[in-house]
């Protein structure tokens, strides 16, 4: 058998093992999408400039187009497909869906992973802290405001408060 130029490795993705063979020069983004068919993670530039490929490695958000797949072996990788628990959406997903924070939805997976990482270590982020955390995720549809409001609403609900979106954010001033 001719010697293969692929690496065989098992990744921990969304809490499950995924054993795949891939060429070592492939990025984590390419292996997720093309070998594991987890196409929820997107690409907008493949140069680390847009944020649509954001995933989490060991709880921190990273640009998967700038990570070699081999560097993610043995680490806990989380993608958008891992946010929901069973058939229930996570609070962040619910709020983004209800506030219209996902218009075309192409930046949404990356936005969700960055926002989820933020809320893990900051249960009550201020608007400026949210802007800081989301600055790496470009979006061309929403103008970011509904994304900020969805993160604030989800954070409140995750803190146990029964928060509702403000009337002004839904109906305008």
């Amino acid at each position: 058998m001719t010697e293969s130029n692929k690496v065989l490795a098992t990744f921990q993705v969304n809490g499950e093992p995924h054993e795949v063979a891939f060429r070592p020069h492939k990025t984590l983004l390419e292996v997720l999408r093309e070998e594991m068919t987890l196409t929820g993670t997107k690409h907008g530039c493949e140069l680390g400039e847009c944020g649509t490929c954001t995933v989490q490695i060991d709880g921190t958000s990273v640009l998967s187009c700038l990570v070699l797949a081999v560097d993610a072996i043995g680490k806990e990788v989380r993608t958008v497909e891992g946010l929901a628990c069973g058939s229930d959406l996570a609070p962040l997903q619910d709020c983004m869906a209800d506030l219209g924070a996902a218009q075309c939805g192409y930046c949404t997976p990356g936005v969700l992973m960055a926002a989820d990482a933020l809320l893990k270590d900051n249960a009550k982020p201020t608007r400026d802290e949210i802007k800081e955390a989301m600055a790496g995720n470009l979006c061309r549809c929403t103008g970011y405001l509904k994304i900020f409001e969805a993160i604030e609403l989800a954070a409140a609900r995750m803190r146990g408060e029964d928060a509702e979106p403000s009337k002004e954010s839904i109906y305008g001033a």
């Binding site: 400039e49 983004m96 869906a97 219209g100 939805g105 989301m134 470009l138 549809c141 929403t142 509904k146």
Partner: protein, 847 residues
């Protein structure tokens, strides 16, 4: 928008306009509506937040090949020779195509079909596709592209409007007016001489608007599969599956259109950038026919910059005559568009630069001259606001200057000169509902305009605060189709199933603006069922009736009206069936909350599902259709096809800036935007469209520009895009987005579903001029150029005339002979919408 091409004029009967008595229920009271206006979640929201939505590049098929395009590295050259032998020999390569394989030219507009899937003989910009290669793996396709040898003979490059006006040779195209002039338009409404004589004040200004691009987060991607039944299916990230369908049938002939199926996938953002038929789409289709295997291409971000079809760079000269109260007695407007290498929508864009100036404020006499030039840059086309953004910037900045000259408050001057509702403009556009007055009042009040403008308050950090106001209007869909025909612009089919399921089929394409959801909300309202229980099937040319596509903000009005007609017909069928069953007159039946019941005795009724069952038993399978054709336009002169629309939205905005008087650096902490959208079909989604427009407008105002590097290299001129990447092509991030106060103004229009008008493009237009006017209010300098970058503000501060921009006199404008103008009497001069001296029409009439 139409190409007013007399040769192709076919006067069809036009589809029914719906019933005469308030067909579109625009006068229904807010509290009478069950679903419309409520913040219901979009029909596709949950799949999008779960990462389940399948975009074009998420799709694969067995034995799928990967295709890549070899693109020109020369800005303007003849192709001497293409040697693909080495590429074809590379193991894994399954197919190579060049220009000779697809000789038929195509293009979105019938009068400028000047593109080839692959350049057969000449390349016209860096990035123009020359060869297509398909292989079993992406890397092999890339490697094969590098093995192709193309020999070019370089030609002189044309860099901009001045150069194109001065150099007839080398000609980029052998059609158009002459030399590198693609289009010349010259339309005169009324008597300019009289208008300027009656004016108390006249001024002239020259303004430059640099081009910029859509930058959708999703790169274009296409998957094509020519199967063994000889049928082609193509999934693509497109805004106009119907027009792509027509282009494919044209280029791939003899493959007939009914054997081609175009499916517009969920779209990762269009903004106008995915509304042309593209080279990569046609190449993927042809490659699949050649290899008999599925073929996919996903463009790189750089290639998305080459596709472009974005905002035309436009140089504008405007002479305005006003009374002392600011009423426009005469407006003489020139626009010079840098069209790039191909026609695209450019002919329509040219007309648009002269169309909507008359829709916000009355213009008594109006002369528009527009010229579009070919240059060796990526082709320009429609970007959000399509061709009406640049002239709006020129007009709203000029009106700010007029107000200063006359010592008037810019907001009050506009309030005193609003266009009239239900009236005709000088260029025969019919205005319906017109809520600009309330818009201006809201933003003036909200921003504290009266107290804070003109005060140049110095803040703690040394910056100076300024407020700027601007208004705009946009159309609710182009009134005429792109190819002249009498068929409906939008068709909807409804299927009612005994399971209680209502399915809506429509060719409309959701590009993130929520058009799928609009169909659900409207049908749900008419049939009294939960919109989220309705199945929406869209943008599939095999399954769904034709809709022309997602452009010019036409979707809500046109698919909405078609859906309402289909739903009303279904309602009437059910009401008859249920009425007979319950012995209640059909007219007394109410459809609400998933039930059908007697208005006088709500207990007497049944569920929607039962209603279908009884009716199906009585009359058989239930299915209805609805369609919509916009009302005929009173504009009958040649070129009058661009601008008419069922209705116009209105917006007013105040922008607050904080400018550093030393460096010219400024920030935008707050924007107040009021947008008259007739009726919000869904509050939260309408807010999202308005905030998205504010965001994109700010990106254009502060930082975005399609800049080209223009320098000689060993005696030859290099002309290449300077910043084809998302980091260098700056766009606003979460940091730059200001606080926004948004007012949704509802002045229902009788031509829209429940009175709805356009939402998604109008609010972008006033942002750029409002920023320029705010910078003036803060530091007293005029930047007559967009983007209003920090460097330009700094330069203006140090300029002797406190201004930055193209030469203020007409030396800055290319000399172009526009020839004799088409003379059209205005409505108030007794005009009938026809030109009095149209050479084409008089010749035809004489025959």
């Amino acid at each position: 928008m139409v190409l007013d091409d007399p040769k192709a004029r076919v006067e069809g009967p036009g589809a029914p306009q719906g019933r005469d008595d308030a067909p579109w229920q625009h006068d229904k009271k807010k509290d009478e509506l069950e679903h419309v206006g409520k913040p219901i979640r979009k029909v596709d929201a949950r799949s999008k937040v779960a990462g389940l939505t399948q975009f074009a590049d998420d799709m694969t098929l067995p034995r799928m090949l990967h295709m890549k395009l070899l693109r020109s590295t020369k800005a303007h050259a003849e192709i001497v020779k293409i040697d693909t032998a080495a590429a074809e020999a590379l193991p894994g390569v399954k197919g190579v195509l060049t220009g000779k394989d697809m000789p038929t030219p195509f293009g979105i507009l019938p009068v400028s079909q000047d593109e080839h899937a692959l350049c057969p003989d000449r390349v016209r910009f860096v990035g123009d596709p020359v060869v297509a290669v398909a292989a079993t793996e992406e890397e092999i396709a890339w490697d094969a592209c590098r093995l192709v040898d193309v020999e070019y003979r370089e030609l002189r490059t044309i860099g901009g409007v001045h150069e194109a006006a001065d150099h007839d040779e080398p000609r980029l195209h052998d059609y158009g007016v002459r030399g590198n002039i693609h289009r010349l338009e010259n339309l005169e409404f009324g008597d300019l001489k009289d208008g300027f004589e009656r004016a108390d004040h006249v001024r002239e200004d020259t303004v430059w608007f640099e081009g910029n691009t859509h930058l959708p987060m999703e790169q274009h991607a296409t998957l094509a599969h020519f199967d063994k039944d000889g049928k082609l299916t193509i999934w693509s990230s497109t805004q106009t599956p119907h027009y792509l369908h027509r282009a494919l049938a044209r280029v791939l002939a003899p493959l007939p259109a009914h054997r081609i199926r175009v499916i517009a996938c969920p779209n990762g953002g269009g903004f106008g950038g995915k509304s042309d038929p593209f080279n990569h789409e046609i190449c993927a289709a042809k490659m699949s026919m050649l290899t008999g295997r599925p073929v996919k291409i996903a463009l790189t971000r750089e290639e998305v910059f080459w596709c472009h079809r974005g905002r035309h760079p436009v140089l504008m000269r405007s002479k305005i005559g006003v009374t002392k109260t600011g009423r426009i007695t005469a407006l003489d407007f020139h626009s010079f568009l840098d069209g790039g290498a191909y026609g695209s929508y450019g002919t329509a864009s040219t007309f648009y630069t002269g169309a909507l100036q008359t829709v916000t404020y009355p213009v008594e006499n109006y002369h528009f001259r527009g010229a579009r030039f070919f240059t060796n840059k990526a082709p320009c086309g429609p970007k959000r606001g399509h061709g009406t953004v640049q002239p709006r910037f020129a007009l709203e900045v000029q009106l700010d200057k007029v107000a200063c000259d006359l010592g008037l408050d810019p907001a009050q001057m506009r309030l005193d000169n609003l266009a009239e509702r239900d009236s005709l403009t000088a260029n025969f556009l019919r205005i319906g509902s017109m809520g600009l007055g309330p818009c201006i009042e809201k933003v003036v009040e909200g921003s504290g305009w009266k107290e804070r403008r003109g005060k140049r308050e110095v803040l703690a950090n040394g910056r100076v605060r300024g407020l700027g106001i601007a208004c705009s209007s946009y159309l609710s869909g182009a009134g005429l189709p792109i190819y002249w025909n009498g068929m409906p612009h939008s068709g909807v089919q409804l299927q009612l199933d005994r399971s209680g399921l209502c399915t809506v089929f429509c060719g409309s394409t959701d590009i993130g603006q929520g058009s799928d959801s609009v169909l659900g909300w409207i049908v749900g309202e008419v049939l009294g069922i939960d919109p989220l229980d309705i199945k929406v099937v869209t943008s599939d040319t095999d399954l769904t009736p034709v809709d022309l596509g997602s452009y010019s903000s036409r979707v809500t009005v046109m698919t909405g009206n078609a859906a309402m007609q289909a739903a009303e017909r279904a309602r009437d069928i059910l009401a008859k069936g249920v009425g007979e069953k319950l012995e209640v007159p059909a007219s007394r039946l109410v459809f609400h909350g998933g039930r059908v019941f007697d208005a006088q005795d709500p207990e007497v009724g049944m569920t929607f599902k039962e209603a279908i069952g009884f009716t199906e038993a009585a009359v058989g399978t239930i299915g209805t259709v609805g369609s919509y054709t916009p009302p005929k336009s009173p504009a009958r002169f040649r070129g009058g096809g661009v601008g008419p629309s069922p209705s116009y939205s209105y917006s007013a905005c105040v922008v607050e800036v904080e400018v550093d008087p030393e460096t010219g650096v400024y920030s935008v902490p707050h924007v107040w935007m009021a947008h008259d959208i007739g009726r919000a079909l869904n509050a939260a989604v309408a807010m999202g469209q308005i905030e998205g427009s504010i965001y994109m407008g700010l990106g254009e105002a502060m930082m975005e520009e399609m800049a080209y590097r223009d320098r000689s290299h060993k005696g030859k001129r290099v002309f290449v895009h300077k910043i084809p990447s998302m980091l260098e092509y700056k766009s606003p991030s979460a940091f730059e987005m200001p606080e926004c106060t948004t007012y949704v103004i509802e002045d229902p229009d009788k031509n829209g579903p429940f009175g709805a008008k356009e939402v998604g493009q109008g609010p972008l237009l006033p942002i750029m001029p409002a920023v320029a006017n705010a910078v003036f209010d803060a530091v007293g300098v005029r930047v007559d150029e967009n983007p209003i970058s920090f460097e330009k503000v700094f330069a203006a501060m140090h300029a002797e005339d406190k201004r930055y921009g193209p030469a203020a006199d007409d030396s800055g404008v290319p000399t172009v002979d526009f020839g004799e103008s088409l003379k059209v009497k205005t409505p108030w001069q007794g005009g009938d919408g026809k030109a009095s001296n149209d050479p084409h029409r008089t010749k035809k009439a004489a025959k």
